[in-house]
């Protein structure tokens, strides 16, 4: 007999049970596909085993009140707001940055004119790694993956003509996050906007850098200390600022499964929560401003299940394990970006379609903001045209498909509920394994998540090699004579030369004695226990470049070197 504890759906009658048994017999005898790609029929893209059909027996353990609740109430499985997109659409926030600050500022004005609702800054590699544009380490990298920001002068240009008191800005910067925040604060101050009025998010999640994205500067422990300094500072002085966006996006891009993305990201988030609590911060003072950032990959239902599981796990841990009392501390808010790693260089127009499905999964999963990738990002920085299509994809989704009219429309689906529970189970299992290492920082130092991801990434690649999985245009439906479209955005060497000249000029024209004094004070703060944020702000005001600030900190903390494994 079927247990109806879940209360999902109508009563299971004996007649239905008999029908279900008949179906099982027929399904067992039914022919199976044997064509290319059919090897993946019995599992999700993350290798979660699948049944051909889900029914009431698969959600028998589910308790309506305990596990689902209603939208806007604990455990938030069905969404963090009572009416979700009926009250407010998600924020359409396209990540952008390339070349120099002036070029990127122009792109921002274009995106805002097209209906984008918030800004999201992509920085170039030297900026992310803490090198100025004229450093030998920056050769060939300036302005390539994002915008080059060396000093407060560049930051001012970047936001020229944009009202920082009104717009919210997300900055994807990790190692030097505290420096970028200081630059943003000083830029606003110079325009007469106090820091208390600034709204936005810093990615600032350093643990996932060691795990996946690999843009670190210092070793893990001092890096975490700086992040906690920042959280403390923002809790006190910047009520509208989301201190940290804990990010699984890059973990997924590095080849993880959905459950690994979920588990490692939440574990990183909990490590920051624990660190802040150890400092004596009240969890309800900082937790409402933590946010998350997830990937939306190509397995439609698995992604939706992942987002729903994320909310449920987070709410329970925050309330039951850490003792948060403010419901806002229980709510997992997240930004989503479609999976860059699912895009193909072959037949790049197909990426428009992939992005649309992935974006819909994010919305059905209840995302708070969304970036849709541009079709050409697998080849180069996106052109204005392809960025516009990506943004229009979100607008079509929001205004034409009607998926926004009903909250959590897949809630109660036997399949989605069973998959949500399974991904939750896998994530909790990872939490146990992380605890065996003594917590996430220790697990990262031991290379545990890194190994798990490398293994998953290789398994996935093998499944494409064997033809178990089909990637359209890559291992099936290829066009051998395909010619790549030539209209790609290129960043020329003149950007690097111009930026290198500009930063040299900044150093030559400032009051150098003031700069050196500020840098010396910063070093003392880093060596001691003082919160580094005020010292970083002083350095930025004294026109110290990012590279100089990082160098001063490296003198105290050292630079991290990875134990390499593959």
């Amino acid at each position: 007999m079927i247990d109806r504890a879940s209360g999902l759906g109508p009563e299971v009658s004996p007649e239905y049970s008999e029908l279900a048994e008949q179906w099982k017999a027929k399904a067992a005898a039914a022919p199976r596909r044997r064509d290319k790609g059919s090897g993946a029929v019995d599992r999700t893209i993350s290798d979660v085993p699948l049944q051909p059909l889900y029914g009431p027996e698969d959600v028998a353990g589910l308790d309506l009140t305990r596990d689902l609740g209603v939208p806007g109430e604990f455990p938030y499985t069905r969404g963090i707001h009572p009416t979700m997109y009926r009250s407010r659409l998600w924020t359409m926030r396209q990540f952008a940055g390339f070349g120099n600050a002036k070029q990127t500022n122009e792109r921002y004005h274009f995106l805002l004119a097209q209906g984008q609702m918030g800004l999201s800054v992509a920085f170039d590699m030297p900026t992310l790694m803490g090198y100025d544009s004229d450093s030998a380490h920056a050769r060939g990298e300036v302005g390539k993956c994002g915008v080059a920001i060396d000093s407060i002068r560049d930051m001012e240009t970047l936001f020229d003509g944009i009202d920082l008191g009104k717009i919210t800005t997300s900055m994807t910067i990790n190692g030097p996050a505290a420096i970028a925040l200081a630059q943003y604060i000083v830029t606003a101050e110079n325009k007469g906007i106090p820091r208390a009025e600034l709204g936005g998010t810093l990615q600032a999640d350093i643990l996932k850098e060691y795990i996946a994205q690999k843009e670190w500067i210092f070793p893990p422990r001092p890096h975490v200390r700086i992040i906690l300094d920042m959280m403390e500072f923002c809790t006190r002085e910047m009520p509208r600022w989301n201190t940290i966006s804990v990010s699984g996006y890059h973990i997924r891009e590095a080849g993880s499964t959905a459950a690994q993305e979920l588990a490692f990201t939440l574990a990183d988030g909990f490590a920051y929560v624990e660190g802040a609590m150890e400092r004596g911060l009240d969890i309800d003072a900082f937790a409402p401003r933590l946010s998350f950032f997830f990937n939306s990959h190509s397995d439609f239902f698995e992604e939706i299940a992942k987002f729903r599981a994320a909310r449920r796990i987070y709410a329970r841990r925050m309330r039951d394990q850490y003792g948060a009392r403010d419901p806002r501390s229980w709510q997992l808010r997240f930004h989503t970006q479609t999976a860059g790693c699912s895009a193909t260089a072959q037949q790049p127009e197909n990426n428009i379609v992939r992005v649309a499905f992935e974006a819909m999964a994010a919305v059905l999963g209840g995302t708070q903001s969304l970036h849709t990738n541009s079709m050409d990002e697998v080849l180069a920085l996106p052109t204005e045209k392809s960025v516009e299509i990506a943004l229009r994809t979100q607008q079509v989704l929001a205004y034409e498909t009607n998926v926004t009219n009903v909250v959590d429309p897949l809630g109660g689906s036997y399949y989605v509920e069973a998959l949500t529970a399974e991904i939750e189970r896998q994530a909790l299992d990872y939490f146990d394994r992380i605890a065996e290492y003594g917590g996430m920082v220790a697990a990262v130092e031991a290379g545990f998540p890194q190994r798990e991801i490398a293994d998953a990434s290789y398994r996935y690649q093998r499944s494409i090699e064997t033809g178990d999985r089909v990637i359209v245009g890559v291992n099936a439906f290829e066009k051998p004579d395909e010619v790549q479209a030539p209209d790609l955005l290129k960043i020329g060497v003149e950007i690097e030369r111009g930026q290198a000249r500009a930063v040299a000029d900044v150093r030559a024209t400032r009051d150098n004695a003031v700069t050196q004094e500020a840098l010396a004070a910063l070093k003392r703060a880093c060596a001691g226990d003082a919160n580094v944020m005020p010292y970083l702000i002083d350095c930025v005001r004294a026109v110290a470049t990012e590279g100089e600030i990082v160098e001063a900190m490296v003198e105290v903390y050292g630079r991290y070197t990875e134990q390499t494994q593959f």
């Binding site: 590699m125 380490h137 050769r139 060939g140 990298e141 993956c145 697998v378 490398a454 990875e562």
Partner: protein, 141 residues
């Protein structure tokens, strides 16, 4: 053919510049190892000079360089230059990453043996390395 050689092919898989995207490099490293080669992965953030030094010290048959940061037109030519400067042009130098077709053509003109872009099958990369590095062994006796 690789099976008859005295020792397996030895390949350096390298990451240069500031690019932290190492998924592809690690997958290739494993695939080459699983195909019976000796693989040395340099780890991240290597200077072109270091990569060539490593290849020479390790008596490598090939170098595979992965770049997804857009710095390929700077870093690939620097490796070619270093190989020439060290008299090690016989080492089979190939690479991959997010590299537009016209850039790939230019890099091949400069002396990079092959450029693989996202979606290239592992089997194709393995076959390329076995063929090219095997030929190099035969030529050098």
């Amino acid at each position: 053919m690789p099976a008859t050689q005295a020792r397996p092919l030895r390949i350096i898989v390298a990451k240069a510049g500031l690019d932290g995207h190492d998924r592809g490099a690690k997958v290739i490293a494993r695939a080459l190892r699983d195909a019976g080669m000796e693989v040395i992965y340099t780890g991240l953030f290597q200077a072109p000079e270091q990569i060539v030094q490593t290849a020479i010290q390790e008596d490598a048959d090939g170098i595979g360089l992965s770049i997804l940061s857009g710095a390929h037109m700077t870093l690939f030519p620097l490796v070619v230059e270093q190989l020439k400067a060290q008299g090690a042009e016989d080492i089979v130098f190939f690479g991959g990453g997010t590299i537009p077709a016209e850039d790939a053509a230019e890099l091949k003109r400069l002396g990079v043996r092959e450029i693989f872009t996202p979606g290239a099958p592992l089997s194709e990369i393995i076959a390329f390395v076995e063929r090219e590095c095997g030929q190099r062994r035969e030529l050098s006796g």
